[in-house]
Point group: C3
Chain length 309, copies 3
């Protein structure tokens, strides 16, 4: 399998075999990610970090990934303060940065930005989220978390929150359909997953059920994946409050949960998960954030040709 | 003495022996801090820099300390642009960054933030100032400056400026009381050091005198420690001007000063020290800024277990 | 020739021999700049990046230059967030940073800032542009681009756009006069190159012609150097549009151009060069941006004494 020089734009280009290879590579990276083992795999290499909108966790874990492998990080900095403010196009920015680095990680508010960047870049582009578009490294770290903390084979998973606009959950569901997962969708009526995505998932082999409360699902699944509901989605604040309260995990809700149940969240959370849950064996959202490091290390090492699989 | 894995939250946890050990370690770091000698003591280690308010000197000297020892620096960046703006708690931010780094240096506007962070962190927290709370690395670099440029034993020191709100001077005085210093306090009536601190200092072995002009003290002491007086403390601008003019060091004031007299300032200065003083043998505030580097190198190497004392 | 410890403030201090030596050193740096070869020439060294106004390309290429040679980068960060906002003078900032780094690259909106900084610094200052003053590393990378993509000896070059305020083109013309270049100046009447500069150039050995359209020059020269015209220079927007349209390079204009013709631009471009030109053999503005890396590597290695020429 050849990753060297390839762009990482979207999950749709990955077969299950490719995903498995990436996750296995990430697993080998874990001791280095934890700082228990040192690596000079990317010494002398430079990762350019182009974040046209902030995303602290994603940026920091990419930077950590690069440092753990001995590489350096070149930051575009805030966009207001850059030549983009002088009217430079994304294509021009990419062609300039192309000469300064060995790979580019790009975050952009506009869908399709990563694909556009790839067309103008001679070095690998890693898409760190482009608006309503894709965010493949988030999906890969979610899969990796499930693999490490639960199981990918025969997985029963519930996804709760905003399933209509949530790019993260759509992409994760597609990927999970490759593994034949049983998926329970939990959302308020206003934020249901779009019909065409559900039917797509079923065609690809996933089993999909819908419900609107967490209570029923909690004892049936291996993993609950929580997401944030944005207040702005609701014209009526009272309606938001009602929904937000119903889609919230509390320690009480977990009284009878099986020990194996795992709770995930892409973070930042606001109120979807009570802090009382943090100390239970079910919580794995902070581990999930950490798992972004070995996964991004694997991707960087692969596209830069430092390892082959 | 075991520092590995320990948090550095406040000076109150340090005995005189511990302080002496840190200062001796800093002294060994000086050739590396000056770039005269290379070190790979922290190669492969990552320091996360979480500054919830700007403090350029402190941040830069921590970063330099890490680089001089071969380590890397991961920056949270500006808080407006981070997930904190999305409502993430400090506890959550810390638990996420915990997975990205080997130590965290935290600057925060709220008193107690560093202690809170320490409760949620599995990696060492270094407090780089938490509001009206503590700023132990500033105190240690002040002590180090006194040790290198004057003497800690039998020291006569005058502190001038805002002694009421100045966290820096309170903490330094407590530390100096461990060495039995003779302390002269010079401040306008409105900004006198709080009574309870003075009586505390005396209980701990310091000898404390108060005055309100610099002239008298200047020929009596080994060190004058100047601080900035903030205009905002005075309801009447005219009153501020009067006070600021009285608590100012000029070359004229130093005409008869003993050659050994040293002038310190945590910087940035505004008008408290006339630039004409800079070229005199008394000025040591820029050296003081530099001394932050070996002191922070010592602390980083100690809490990360790279050296033991 | 001794560069170690020297400041790089302006082109006026460089003889032709010195320029040639720097360009030759840059050429040796190219394989490392391209990431094809690794170097530890500046391992353990720290470059402080003090940008008092943004300049993304210049900053990033300096940082890349430092990383490619194994060094580290310490960033002052945005000025609003720094102690400068508390009223610190440039002289004080420089004297503090002097203790944190091995060299300083300074960008400042005020003319003369770099010279001032040099007076207070014990480590080399590299001027990355000081307002209407100098920007020597831009000139050196322009010369390097001409050397690599065309020829410095017997060069015929046209410079187009804002020749009145353009610091970049003034400095480049002075340097080219050392090589006896034939210079064609193309600008609207309002933005003509100042008479005294033209007569200076002629005294130094350059042959200077003026015109106001690109068409005539395009088949006569080896290199066209385009620059951006700022809308703000024109009281009447209609006048700006007229001028901007006349000073624009399009693929049509290049139909009969000699294959050797090279088009340069300091970037960012807005409309001066149609994107249709990018894929032609004439375009070399993105390469020009890249060439900033080996040139800055050469300068850093020289002033830090890592190599001698």
């Amino acid at each position: 399998m050849k990753f060297k020089g390839h762009h990482i734009i979207s999950m749709t280009s990955f077969s299950r075999d490719m995903i498995d290879s990436i996750l296995e590579t990430a697993e080998r990276m874990e001791p280095i990610a934890l700082g228990k083992q040192r690596s000079g795999l990317l010494t002398g290499k430079i990762l350019a970090v182009l974040f046209f909108e902030p995303s602290t966790r994603t940026r920091m874990s990419f930077e950590t990934a690069m440092y753990r492998l001995g590489g350096d990080v070149l930051n575009l900095g805030s966009v207001d303060a850059s030549s983009i403010a002088k009217g430079e196009t994304l294509a021009d920015t990419i062609r300039v940065v192309d000469g300064y680095a060995d790979a580019i990680v790009l975050r952009h508010p506009k869908e399709g930005a990563a694909q556009l960047a790839a067309e103008f870049s001679t070095i690998p582009i890693l898409n760190a989220g482009d608006g309503a578009g894709h965010h493949p490294t988030q999906t890969l770290l979610d899969l990796y978390t499930i693999k490490r903390e639960s199981r990918l084979e025969g997985l029963k998973i519930a996804l709760a929150g905003d399933l209509k606009y949530g790019r993260t959950v759509h992409s994760l569901c597609y990927a999970l359909s490759l593994y034949g997962a049983e998926i329970t969708l939990i959302s308020p009526r206003e934020l249901r997953m779009p019909e065409e995505i559900i039917s797509d998932l079923e065609k690809r082999g996933a089993k999909v059920t819908e419900t609107d409360t967490i209570e029923d699902a909690i004892n049936e699944v291996d993993v609950i994946y929580m997401t944030r509901i944005q207040k702005e989605r609701f014209p009526d604040p009272a309606e938001y409050e009602k929904v937000a309260n119903r889609l919230k995990i509390t320690p009480e809700l977990l009284t009878d949960a099986r020990p194996e149940l795992r709770i995930m969240h892409p973070l930042p959370r606001v109120n979807e998960i009570d802090t009382g849950v943090d100390e239970t064996q079910h919580a794995c959202y902070f581990k999930q954030a950490f798992y972004g490091v070995p996964v991004r290390m694997a991707l960087l090492a692969l596209v830069l040709g430092a390892i082959e699989i």
